[in-house]
Symmetry: C2
Subunit: 621 residues, 2 copies
C-alpha cells in the first residue's frame, strides 16, 4: 500500500527535519573526504530516513545506551557508517572533532563499518544481509522474553535484499508476528557496480515482502512528512513492517546524484566544498533529542544460579548429544537467561529436552541456519545466553554470520552434533569435517569437544559465563562415561585418561575412545601409551602438551575425526611451535572423501581407527 503523506507535521517540524538531514549529509561528506575513503553517496540517500527516525520515532536515551527501554537502531547497510556517525554527532553522543578527525583512522572506534566498540551499536555490520536477521533476534527477545516496549528499527540497503538471509529474516518476522520490528529499505537503485536487480521496482519489493508475511509501506524517501507517517504506522501496525523508501543515491549533491559511478568513493576536497556549500555549509550544530524511552525493567538480571547437572555412571554408554540436551535443560532450570534455538533438528541435537521443559525460551528457526545464528546474536544483544544447535556440518551454512558474531564479540554458544565420519552411513554431506577449522578461525572463539557425558555436561554448565562465540561438538553415538560426576573440566584444560610414558595419544571427542582402545593394544605389545582427552581445542592446554612432550621424548600421536587441515592437529602443532617444543607428531585425520558405512568402518577407512593409531604409535617407538 502506498501511504499518502498526511502532512500533519507543522512547517517548523519540516524545516527542522530538513535542517537535520542537511547536517547529516554535510557531516557524512566531511568525514569521508577527510578520511580519504568511505561511502558518502550511500549515506546521502538515507539521510532523510534517519533524520526523521532519530528526531521523531526512535525512543532512545543517548546518555544511557544500556537503558532497557531504548529502541534499537541497526544499520544493516553498514557501509553507510558516515551517516550513522553523523547521527551520533547530532545526538551529542560523539563530538564533531571525533567524527572528523578519527573516522576510519587507526585506533578509532569510528571504524569503516560499525562495530559494538561503540556503545550505541548493537552488532557489527558491513557484511550485507545480516543486520535484519539480527534485528529479528533482538525483536524476538524484546517481545517474547522481555515483553519490552522497545522497538527495533533496521536500515537496509536495497542491494542486500538479494541475500537469501533477508528473506529468512522476513519470513521469521512474519511467522512470529514481530510487531516491534520495522525494516527500512533505502531503495536508491544502485549497488556497488551498477543498477540493482530490481532498481526502483518498488511494487515487486512490496509483493515479496507481503508474500513473506510482512506489511509493506511505500514512501518517497526524501519526503519527511511521508516518512514520518510511515514510521508512525509501522509502530502501530499489528505485525512487522517494511518501509520501502524510494531514494536517490547521492541525494543533495547534484554533481553525483543518481550516478552509479560514485559508489564507495569519497569526494575530493573541492567537490566536498562545493557540496557542503550547496547544503548550507558546515556551521550547523543541530542537536537532536528524539523521544525518550518509556520506563522499562532491566531486561535480564545477572544470573548466578548453579545448575543441577545430570548424573552419569562411569562406564555407561552415553552420547554426548544426550548429555548436551540434559545439561541444557538443567541450565534452563537454574538460569532464566538461558534460551535455546533450533534449526529443525532438535530431536537429533537433543535440544528438544530444553524445549519440552522451557517452551517459552525455545525458538524454532526452521531450516535457516543463517537466521539461527543471527537470532542468537540478537538475543545476546538483549542480555540472554543463547544456545543454538544443529548438525556440525550445517554451521558452515552460517559461517559468515558466525564470523561477524566474532567481530561483534557476541556471547553465544553454538553446538554441532553429528560430526565427522562417526555418523556412519549418511555420507559426507552430513559430516562436519571442517567445523573445528572454521570455528577456531573466528576471533575470540572457544572450541570444545568433550569425549564423555560428564565432561560435556560440565562444559555446557560453564558456557553462559563464557565471553564470545563458543562452539561445542557432540557425538552422535554412545560411548563409555570416562569421568565421575563433579570432576572439574575448566575451559582450556585437558585430562590424562590413561598414563604412560612411551608415547602420548591425543584425542578429542570420539577419538579419545579410539585412543584408549589403541592404548590397550599397545600395552600388549609392551608400549606404554598415555591417552590425553583434549576436550578444549581452543584454548588448548599448553601445560599438558609440554608435559606430554617431556615425558614421552616428544612422541605424540594426534587423532581427530576431522579433515587434516586446521583442526586439533593444527592446534597442537601451532602451540608446540609457539612454545618452542620440538616433537615428533604423527597426525591422524580424515584423509580423502568419506562415503557410507558403519562408524567403525568409517574410522578404519579414514585412517583414524584403532589399528591406524597403533601403527602410528609403533612408528614413533
Amino acid at each position: 500500500m502506498t501511504v499518502e503523506a498526511a502532512r500533519t507535521l507543522r512547517d517548523e517540524d519540516l524545516t527542522g527535519l530538513a535542517e537535520l538531514a542537511a547536517q547529516l549529509r554535510v557531516d557524512a561528506i566531511r568525514c569521508t573526504t577527510m578520511a580519504g575513503s568511505g561511502h558518502p553517496t550511500s549515506s546521502l540517500s538515507a539521510a532523510d530516513l534517519l533524520a526523521v527516525l532519530v528526531a521523531r520515532h526512535l525512543r532512545y536515551d543517548w546518555s544511557y545506551p544500556g537503558n532497557p527501554g531504548n529502541d534499537h537502531l541497526i544499520l544493516s547497510k553498514g557501509h553507510a557508517s558516515p551517516l550513522l556517525y553523523a547521527v551520533f554527532r547530532a545526538t551529542g553522543a560523539i563530538s564533531e572533532q571525533e567524527l572528523l578527525e578519527t573516522y576510519r583512522r587507526s585506533g578509532s572506534r569510528l571504524q569503516g563499518h560499525p562495530t559494538p566498540v561503540l556503545p550505541w551499536v548493537d552488532v557489527a555490520t558491513g557484511s550485507l544481509g545480516q543486520g535484519l536477521p539480527v534485528g529479528v533476534g533482538v525483536a524476538l527477545a524484546a517481545r517474547y522474553l522481555d515483553r519490552s516496549p522497545a522497538h527495533v528499527w533496521v536500515l537496509c540497503g536495497d542491494s542486500e535484499t538479494a541475500e537469501g538471509s533477508v528473506w529468512e529474516a522476513l519470513d521469521k518476522a512474519g511467522h512470529y508476528g514481530l510487531d516491534n520490528l520495522t525494516t527500512i529499505v533505502d531503495v536508491n537503485r544502485f549497488g556497488q557496480r551498477g543498477p540493482t536487480e530490481l532498481e526502483w521496482d518498488l511494487d515487486t519489493y512490496r509483493r515479496r515482502v507481503e508474500a513473506f508475511g510482512c506489511r509493506a509501506i511505500l514512501v518517497d524517501g526524501h519526503d519527511p512528512a511521508a516518512i514520518d507517517e510511515a514510521y508512525g504506522q509501522a509502530r502501530e501496525a499489528g505485525g512487522p513492517t517494511v518501509v520501502l523508501a524510494r531514494t536517490v543515491k547521492g541525494k543533495g549533491v547534484p554533481e553525483v546524484e543518481n550516478d552509479p559511478a560514485w559508489h564507495g568513493k569519497p569526494f575530493d576536497p573541492e567537490l566536498a566544498e562545493r557540496a557542503v556549500r550547496a547544503l548550507g555549509g558546515s556551521r550547523r550544530t543541530i542537536r537532536v533529542a528524539g523521544p525518550r524511552p518509556p520506563a522499562a525493567p532491566r531486561a535480564t538480571a545477572p544470573q548466578t544460579g548453579q545448575p543441577e547437572l545430570p548424573r552419569y555412571t562411569r562406564g555407561a554408554a552415553v552420547a554426548t548429544r544426550d548429555a548436551y540436551g540434559d545439561a541444557l535443560r538443567a541450565l534452563g532450570a537454574a538460569r532464566p537467561d538461558v534460551v535455546a534455538l533450533d534449526g529443525e533438528v532438535s530431536d537429533s541435537t537433543r535440544a528438544e529436552r530444553f524445549a519440552a521443559a522451557y517452551p517459552d525460551r525455545f525458538f524454532q528457526m526452521f531450516i535457516a541456519e543463517q537466521q539461527l545464528v543471527a537470532a542468537a546474536v540478537g538475543m545476546a544483544v538483549r542480555g540472554y545466553r543463547p544456545f543454538a544447535a544443529t548438525f556440525a556440518a550445517f554451521w558452515s551454512r552460517a559461517y559468515d554470520f558466525i564470523r561477524m558474531a566474532g567481530v561483534s564479540r557476541a556471547d553465544i554458544a553454538l553446538v554441532g552434533s553429528h560430526a565427522g565420519v562417526e555418523i556412519g552411513p549418511d555420507g559426507p554431506s552430513q559430516m562436519g569435517l571442517e567445523d573445528i577449522a572454521a570455528l577456531r578461525a573466528v576471533p575470540g572463539s572457544t572450541v570444545l569437544c568433550p569425549a564423555d557425558a560428564v565432561s560435556c555436561a560440565a562444559l555446557v554448565a560453564q558456557l553462559p559465563d563464557l565471553p564470545g562465540v563458543t562452539y561445542l561438538r557432540t557425538t552422535r553415538g554412545a560411548y563409555p562415561v570416562l569421568y565421575d560426576d563433579g570432576e572439574p573440566f575448566p575451559i582450556g584444560g585437558s585430562r590424562v585418561v590413561r598414563d604412560g610414558g612411551d608415547v602420548a595419544l591425543l584425542g578429542t571427542g570420539v577419538t579419545v575412545h579410539l585412543c584408549l582402545a589403541a592404548a590397550d593394544e599397545l600395552t600388549r605389545e609392551g608400549i606404554d601409551a598415555r591417552v590425553v582427552d583434549v576436550y578444549s581445542i581452543k584454548p588448548v592446554d599448553r601445560q599438558r602438551l609440554v608435559e606430554a612432550v617431556r615425558d614421552t621424548g616428544g612422541r605424540l600421536v594426534v587423532v581427530e575425526d576431522h579433515y587434516p587441515q586446521g583442526g586439533l592437529g593444527s592446534a597442537v602443532l601451532e602451540t608446540l611451535a609457539d612454545l618452542g617444543q620440538p616433537a615428533r607428531v604423527q597426525h591422524l585425520a580424515v584423509r580423502g572423501l568419506p562415503g557410507s558405512g558403519t562408524p567403525t568402518q568409517q574410522f578404519d577407512r579414514a585412517g583414524i581407527g584403532v589399528s591406524a593409531i597403533v601403527s602410528a604409535a609403533r612408528r614413533l617407538a
Copy 2:
C-alpha cells in the same frame, strides 16, 4: 494458478504410472530396511512425482549419461536417495541387487545422500537448499551458453524452502527467465522434527514463488494425471516454473502416513513386509524408458588454447587483483569454456575486465554469494570452467556451498580479493582473515596466494585444467612485480625470492613483500635471511620446506595476513610434522581483532609488520 488435470492420459498410462510408483515405493522401503537406516517416508511422498517425471517427461538416455541433450534431474532433497536409487533401478541403470545389498554400505556408490560418484548424479545433495541453486547454474549454462534443449528438473522438499538460498535461486531463475528450469516441491508438510512452518499452505508458497518471478502450478502430488499435465505446462512455459505438489509423507503405507514421528526412520522388517505386501509385493520388475533426448551437439569441446597472458615489468607496482582481471580476460580469449561470475563487486575484483570483453560468458548473481557458488557448480556440471570472484571475507557466506562443491568434486575457481588487514580502513567485517583456513579444509581443494602480478597470471592460466575447488587470494594494493614474464609457477610450488642461510622468512601474498623488507633490515644487522614466496598453500611445496629447514638449521619465520588458526602457519607445521622435520618456527599472524587504519598501520598493529618479522628472526638467530 491451480491446474485442473485434463486427464488426457489413457487408462493404461495411469495404471502403468501407478505400478511404477508402487515399485519405487516398494524399493525405497526394502533398501532402507535392509540398510537399517535412511528415509523411507520422505521417499514415499515423492514417488508419484518422480514416476511421472521419468516415465513421461525426463528426456534422458540412461545408457549415456554424458549425452549433452539429456535433461538434468537434481534431487535437492537428497535424503530421499532411496527414491532416486529406486528410479535408477527402474531405468536399468543399477540392478535390484546393487540397490538392496549395497545401499548405505561401506564402499558403495549408493551413499546415504547422492554424490556424483554415480554417473547419473550431477551434484552432491543432502545439505538442503542447494540442489535448486545449482539447478539454476545448470539451466543458465544450458540456455545461455549451450543453447541446449536440455531441461533441468529439481525435486525439492518443502522444509528446505526455509533456506534463503532457495529464494536467491528463484530470484535468479526469474531474473534470467529460465524457461528450462522446473522446480518440483514435495509439500508433505513435515520436516524432521514436526510440521513445517507453512504446512500445506500452498497459497502462501504460490504467492512467494510468483513474487520472485516464477510461475506456480499447484497439484495433488499423488494424482498422476495432474502431475503429468503440470510437467507438460512447465516445459512449455515461457519462464521458470515451480510445481507445488501437495503430498502425504509416507504415502502408500497407512501405518505411517502423515505421521511426523516417522522422519528418517527405516521400517522394521515386519512393518516393511506389511507395507510391501499392501503395495502389491516385491515381484514387480517394471523397466521404465522415458522419452529420449533430442540430438544435441556436445556442450563444450575440450579446450586447449594457450592464453596470451598480460605482461608486467619487474619492479612495477601492480595489485594481483588487476593481474587476475587481466589474466582472466586473456583466458577468455583462448578458451571459450571459461566463464565468469560476479556477486556485485566485479569492479573491485577486476572481473569486470572479463565482463567487458566477453559479456555473453559473464553472469551477475548480485549480492548472493551462495547462488554465486551454486551457479559456478552448475556451469561446471555442463563442462564449463567457472571463475567466481568476490571479497575474500564473503566466501564465508557460501561456505556450505563450497564444502558441498568439494564433495561434488566440482571443478570451479573461487577468487577472493580484499583479504586480510591489507585492505586498510574498512574494518574487520570486510577482511578475509579466515578464508585460507576455511578453504584448506574443503576436500580436494587447492589454495593459492600469489605475491605478484606475474605469478598471479601464471596461476590463473593453470586453473581451467585443475580438478576440484580452487581458491585464489588476491591483493587489494599494488606491490612490486617480483618475477619475469614466462617464469613457471607450478601448483604446489614456491619460489625463493631472496637467498640466505641464517633464517628463512616464509610469506604468502602481501607478506612476501613484508618479508623482503625485513630481510633488507636483517642484512644490515648481519643476518642473512632467505625469503620464500609460498604462493601455493595447498598443496604446499614440501621440498622447499625441507631445504629451508636444512639450510637454516631449522630457523623459520612464517608470516601471514590471516588469523593464526588454520592458515599458512598450520600448512607449514602440518607438513613439517608429516615429514618428521623438527624446526623452530616463529609464526606471525593477525592476533586480536583489527579495526581501521592504513595498511602499514594495520600490519604493525596485527603483529605481522616488518619490525615484527625482524624481531622474530632475531629471536631465532
